[in-house]
């Protein structure tokens, strides 16, 4: 897999959530991930896009969501940025705690962390940047196994 970068800028709409997921699934497929992992990457990006559109930008038509993909030999790195007030990660309750289990929301970040190998959440006063990393395994990473 050769190094490659792609960037998109989206409006803060529900359509963006679907578009971001579809873009991630396409790029993950092209990167050689299997069907299950493609679904996981697509869902992680979908959940990050939901957070950016709903909670970060709060559907503000003046605010954008940016989505960057970078493919290297080792990783697929996906970065989602919004222009909100910055996500306070410390205030996100544990969705697996018994008192939260039957809540109807609050599982997005948990799913993202479940599906990706590395997750960085960098909030600031001008928005939140979420970096998702999936390690590439197998022949598409360019690694060759030694012959016996």
């Amino acid at each position: 897999m050769t190094a490659q970068r792609l960037s998109y800028t989206f409006d803060s709409t529900l359509e963006t959530v679907d578009t971001a997921e579809q873009a991630a699934s396409k790029i993950a497929t092209e990167a050689g991930f299997d069907e299950d992992v493609v679904m996981q990457i697509g869902m992680a990006v979908r959940e990050a896009a939901i957070n950016a559109v709903l909670h970060g930008n709060a559907y503000d038509p003046g605010k954008k969501v940016t989505l960057d993909f970078e493919r290297t030999g080792q990783d697929l790195v996906i970065t989602i940025r919004d222009q909100g007030h910055g996500l306070d990660v410390s205030k996100i309750p544990d969705p697996l705690a018994p008192e939260n289990l039957m809540k109807t929301s609050g599982r997005g970040i948990f799913l993202i962390r479940s599906f990706m190998d590395e997750v960085e959440i960098n909030p600031s006063q001008t928005g939140t940047e979420v970096k998702l990393i999936k390690h590439v395994h197998g022949p598409t990473a360019g690694a060759k196994e030694a012959s016996p």
Binding site: I50, S105, G108
Partner: protein, 114 residues
């Protein structure tokens, strides 16, 4: 991409056949309206057939939880039928699999409401 919902009656149980995606927006809203409509008609024994649901996001999971708690609060019962592997795995990692009553045989599931 959208979800389709249809309902049928089997021995006093309302089977809700869902297909497609239960996701933020239309899919979640459709499910909510369907469940609310059934409760309004007094149909409180609900079997949610998810056999053709191939994708569900956090919003969809939340909608399943909402449906379950709403029906229970009205002294009804809601059970899940025919989970696909993807939905099954999602309910497992979110620890909701044991919360829901999950069935894989429709006839037995209908009987279990009696």
């Amino acid at each position: 991409m959208s979800m389709k919902i249809s309902t049928r009656q089997v021995d006093g149980v309302t089977v809700v056949d869902c297909s497609g995606r239960i996701t933020l927006g239309e899919g979640s809203v459709q499910l909510r309206e369907s469940i609310d409509g059934l409760l309004a008609k007094g149909q409180k024994k609900i079997l949610l057939n998810l056999g053709d649901v191939n994708y569900i996001d956090s919003s969809g999971i939340g909608e399943l939880v909402r449906a379950f708690t709403t029906v229970r609060k009205q002294s009804g019962d809601l059970k899940l039928l025919n989970l696909t592997k993807k939905v099954h795995d999602l309910l497992q990692i979110t620890k909701l699999y044991t919360v829901f009553d999950v069935k894989d045989d429709e006839a037995a599931a209908v009987k279990s409401f009696q």
